[in-house]
Amino acid sequence: MSTTAEAIRYERGTSLWRDAWRRLARNRLAVAGAVILAFIIVACLLAPWISVYGYEEQDLVLGAAPPSAAHWLGTDTLGRDLLTRILYGGRISLMVGLTATSVALLIGVTWGAIAGYFGGRLDAMMMRIVDILYALPFMIFVVLLTVVFGRSILLLFLAIGAVEWLTMARIIRGQVQSLKCQEFVEAAVSLGLSRRAIIFRHIVPNAIGPLIVYTTLTIPAVMLLEAFISFLGLGVQPPMSSWGSLISDGVETMEEYPWLLIYPGITLSLTLFALNFLGDGLRDALDVRSSRD
């Protein structure tokens, strides 16, 4: 393994990363995004310690009350503390975001790497499939999958992940195509490594920059899809909540109790904002041309 190829990669790698880090740190919007995101994630993780109320704890006498000292963001119609529900809902929303993105990452990277490395007819066929899938109304399939196979959260992860891998595959394919002609790959081939090892140990790690960027941009897309599905009443089922289902509940009573719509809405938008700014910042820092715009 201690070939020159390894050494060259290492050296180029560090300088590239240090450069990227400096560029990122100078991008105020991206830094602000990272800080907000960190704050929201930590708050959601520490929910049981931050909030003095239980997640399903009802106070029917109180009912829906506007924000007060006891309930910072008010309570819903059953008297449940909204802040608590937002924090716990955030755990679901963020978890869906991360898990589904990992699924998308796994499928997309494998698909794109194989297509890019082998090229030729296999590549043409695989990318043709991606083109075709691109053209289809995916919401329909996600709705179908969730309706048809029951409303488990796990399934939601898989369904969303299975939908969001296409762009990932395209990006990785492009990277792999340009990387596979480089000397360190030739070296690995001449060392007699298996194709699997070459693709996943030597080529894919070199495409990590675009991968990170696109992952940061996929998470908000996935969270949006989850919110969408929960909004239609197909996702998370009560008494559990996600940001999507909280917004959906809030819509029903927004005339009388607008805070039930506004606070979950702010939380979701703020998170999406933060992720998008961070993703854009990373893209500029790592100088990746995304196929998105």
């Binding site: 053209a135 289809l136 909004f231 999507g244």
Partner: protein
């Protein structure tokens, strides 16, 4: 060009076949059926119903029959709306969805291109930052939040526009169209800005300016034509997004469109209705993608020449 269109249409046939087959077997292998949710349906009645709709035949026979009917443009009867065919239901829901999609697309293109142009002509000034931050907000604000918020502010608090319905009261089409179009306007703005910036830095623009053409002609006649190509290629996928995005908007604003039919059909296991709407939407999307590719090619002479050839 004709050959290109022909090729693409031929390619669409296997795609449609796969979509229809996948949907057909997906809904059939799922637990539950169209008549299993009804309370107190006697087994005999259920059997009779299933016989009436040929659900008692082997799956492959049903599949074959369905494909055969489909070739004649017949989507079959609906299971949940007795006596009405899926064709009728689609025909009754489609106008609202199409109209909504069209208005949303107009909102997206007009607002988005205006904002993008404004930004591209004065990059890195407030005239760039303001529309672009608005665009970022548009992207980060999901329809499912924007819709209710617009209703709350303009419908309930300010009482400027009706809060729901479609074509019942004057002005009730404004909020749904804005809601659905907003996110796409944001994308269009970013694409226009990017495309225009790239074109404006090219030699032929310098030539046009050096000839002494007025700036208006340079921008709108020379630059815009190249600058909008990314926008045009985006329109195909955008249309697909608009159709599925309309599910939420139709739910929020209670619009009797295809999206609501589809969601209800999925809930009710209305097999033929699910298949019919999916097929119908897939056909529409394929056609629209083709249209946007053709349009983009027509705008870009370099692509135009290569279209008929095989890659």
């Amino acid at each position: 060009m004709a050959r290109f269109i022909w090729q693409r249409l031929l390619q669409a046939i296997p795609v449609l076949f796969v979509v229809i087959s996948a949907t057909f077997f997906l809904v059939r292998f799922a637990p539950g059926g169209p008549f299993s949710q009804e309370k107190a349906v006697l087994p005999e009645i259920k059997r009779a119903l299933e016989a009436q709709y040929h659900l008692d035949q082997p799956l492959l026979v049903q599949y074959g029959n369905y494909l055969g009917d489909l070739l004649h443009g017949d989507f079959g009867p609906s299971f949940k709306y007795p006596g009405r065919s899926v064709n009728e239901l689609i025909a009754s829901g489609f106008p609202a969805t199409a109209e909504l999609g069209l208005y949303a697309l107009l909102v997206a293109v007009i607002l988005g291109m205006a904002a993008g142009l404004m930004a591209a002509l004065r990059p890195h000034t407030w005239r760039d930052y303001l529309p672009m931050s608005l665009a970022m907000t548009g992207i980060c604000m999901p329809t499912l939040l924007l819709g209710p918020l617009l209703v709350l502010v303009f419908g309930i608090w300010l009482e400027w526009v009706p809060v729901s319905g479609w074509g019942d009261v004057a002005g009730d089409k404004i909020l749904p169209s804005l809601t659905l179009g907003a996110a796409y306007a944001a994308y269009v703005a970013r694409l226009t800005r990017g495309g225009m910036l790239e074109v404006l830095s090219q030699d032929y623009i310098r030539t046009a300016r050096a000839k002494g053409l007025p700036e208006r002609v340079v921008i709108f006649k020379h630059a815009l034509r190249g600058g909008v190509i990314p926008v045009v290629s985006f329109l195909g996928p955008a249309f697909a997004g608009l159709l599925s995005g309309s599910f939420v908007v139709e739910t929020v604003f209670q619009i009797p469109g295809l999206g609501r039919f589809f969601v209800q059909a999925a809930f009710n296991r209305d097999y033929t209705m699910i298949l019919g709407t999916t097929t119908f939407l897939a056909v529409l999307i394929i056609l629209f993608n083709l249209l946007s590719d053709v349009l983009a090619a027509w705008l870009n002479p370099r692509v135009r020449g290569t279209l008929g050839e095989k890659k």
